[in-house]
Symmetry: C2
Subunit: 125 residues, 2 copies
């Protein structure tokens, strides 16, 4: 149950948090403005709902997103970035830059993404 990092290396540690096939894709989708489970489940990459639920729980545990009900009866939740989550933006940008340089036929990054800064996505508090 107890989580532990593989080593004190900062690269390895970040990958202990988001080093899988989906975590960063989910975060990207939240950056893009999707906030509900349904919106996220509808992402174009086709994530299965059990994985989505698991990744959201994990991201919440690690303090990258918050889950807050925006309506009761029925409960509807909203997933939002924390500061730590917003601070992942440079990682996403670096990944996107690499793909645009080395993989043909990728989508161009929208301007809000390419030029965005983490602080632009910090929660309002």
């Amino acid at each position: 149950m107890a989580f532990s990092y593989r080593s004190p290396c900062p690269v390895a540690s970040a990958l202990d948090v988001v080093g899988d096939r989906w975590s960063l894709v989910v975060l990207r989708t939240i950056f893009a403005g999707c906030r509900t489970y349904g919106d996220l489940a509808g992402m174009s990459e086709g994530i299965s709902t059990n994985i989505l639920a698991d990744r959201l729980a994990r991201l919440e545990e690690f303090g990258l997103v918050t889950k807050t009900p925006y309506r009761m009866h029925p409960v509807r939740n909203e997933y939002r970035l924390t500061r730590a989550g917003a601070d992942m933006l440079p990682i996403l940008q670096a990944l996107a830059d690499w793909s645009l340089k080395h993989v043909p036929g990728r989508w161009a990054q929208p301007d809000w993404f390419a030029r965005g800064r983490p602080a632009d996505f910090y929660p309002a508090d």
Copy 2:
């Protein structure tokens, strides 16, 4: 057998290449100067050798590293970064920056890493 990207999204595509627990840790170790299989197998995170062999083959397939014999009798190979591999540096730096900000007790980045630029690691040709 045929590989295909989940979507044309550049973030998702980069993760199709290196979105797992080990690929970027292996790359980090090559950046750090480890070039032989034995050096890589000895990394402090303790990768198992079957995974290491698989990741090196994958990184080679995707053109991020090259495997070249530096000695025959017996054959000893050297793994080196290609340009595409060296261009992963900003991703590693962004991951490290995030950890240093959000995970306590991580190692500081050595200067060659924090200040390095991909071109510093391009193959000599």
